[in-house]
């Protein structure tokens, strides 16, 4: 009688062990599934490196190329009335900083406009023909950092970049004699 009870107990404990093993297998499978799921959910699938190169590189190359442009408008005149070819940063932007606000006479006039007004229209057109056609939003600013005073010389906004991932060209400095430093910056976002 005792032997029969012992055998029954052994059978029961074996069955219990089997059930526990089955439970463990199911738990392992569910854990593996969850692990995959979290890995899948957390991994950023975007081509980050390319985005950094294109967007950041684009902001930098655009701002630097803009600054280097030679303005060859036939109606760009100096105060003396002669036609001149001007570099955007060294000539026009510096002139704009030195003769700000626009109520003052500037040294150079292009399309009968003060250098600041002409620059704003020109840069805006150049950006619109490139970044604008690619559907990018951008902000361009040129500020005169004088002695204790900051003046915004040029401000162009094509859509705002608030609450968006943005890339900046960094501030491009230009020294304007005795007046201070002109800092230009281009911010691009999608």
């Amino acid at each position: 009688m005792i032997e029969i009870i012992k055998k029954l107990n052994q059978k029961k404990s074996r069955k219990g062990q089997m059930e526990i093993i089955g439970l463990v297998v199911i738990v392992i499978l569910i854990t593996l599934g969850l692990l995959f799921l979290t890995q899948f959910a957390l991994k950023d699938g975007s081509d980050y490196n390319k985005k950094v190169f294109t967007q950041k590189g684009l902001a930098k190359s655009t701002a630097n190329s803009l600054m280097k442009i030679t303005i060859t408008e036939p109606d760009c005149l100096s105060q003396e009335g002669s036609t001149v070819n001007l570099r955007l940063d060294r000539d026009l932007l510096r002139d704009c900083a030195m003769h700000y606000p626009t109520s003052l006479d500037s040294r150079y006039y292009c399309q009968q406009q003060h250098s600041c007004d002409f620059l704003e229209a020109f840069i805006s057109e150049m950006l619109e023909q490139t970044l604008g056609t690619w559907g990018k939003r951008y902000e361009f600013t040129a500020q005169l950092n004088g002695y204790g005073q900051i003046d915004t010389l040029i401000s162009i906004n094509a859509g705002t970049c608030n609450n968006r991932e943005k890339d900046s060209s960094g501030k491009i400095p230009l020294r304007a004699e005795e007046i201070g430093l002109v800092e230009s910056e281009l911010i691009i976002c999608d």
Partner: protein, 164 residues
Amino acid sequence: MKDKKGQIRMVETIAVLFIFFLLLGIGILFYFQYQKGQMAVKETELLGARAVDTTLRALFLPELICSKGETEPEGNCVDLMKLRYANGTMMKHLNDYYYNLFGYAKITIIEVYPLTKEWTLYDKEKPDWTAKEPTFQMINLRDELQGISPTNYGYGYIVVEVYS
């Protein structure tokens, strides 16, 4: 009685095995779907990397870059004097030289200011391409032939499209 018990156990075992394989099947299916997604992401990443690589090669191509004698060449600048002739040379040696540099790609330079002009420097389209990745970079176009002082720098951009 014993037969019935055995039958019940067999059905029980079959049910357990069925559930086990069902779970395993769902796991495998999920894993394959995940791998498929990952492959597509990897493919996009590789195409992006190739686009960056090709753009850099095009930007620093000695046949195009602005140079000043022995000094360092100017970055993001294309010499128009070189460009006018590089156009023909690159198309002529497309298969025997430039294909090894750029692979399946299209390189175009567009002048925005002072003139509006376009040069297709290299064009090798993949016969059965499924995706195209364009990269834009702004450049200056230096024109020494204008003979004006300061050196004339125009404004434009380079478009590099790679195929996969």
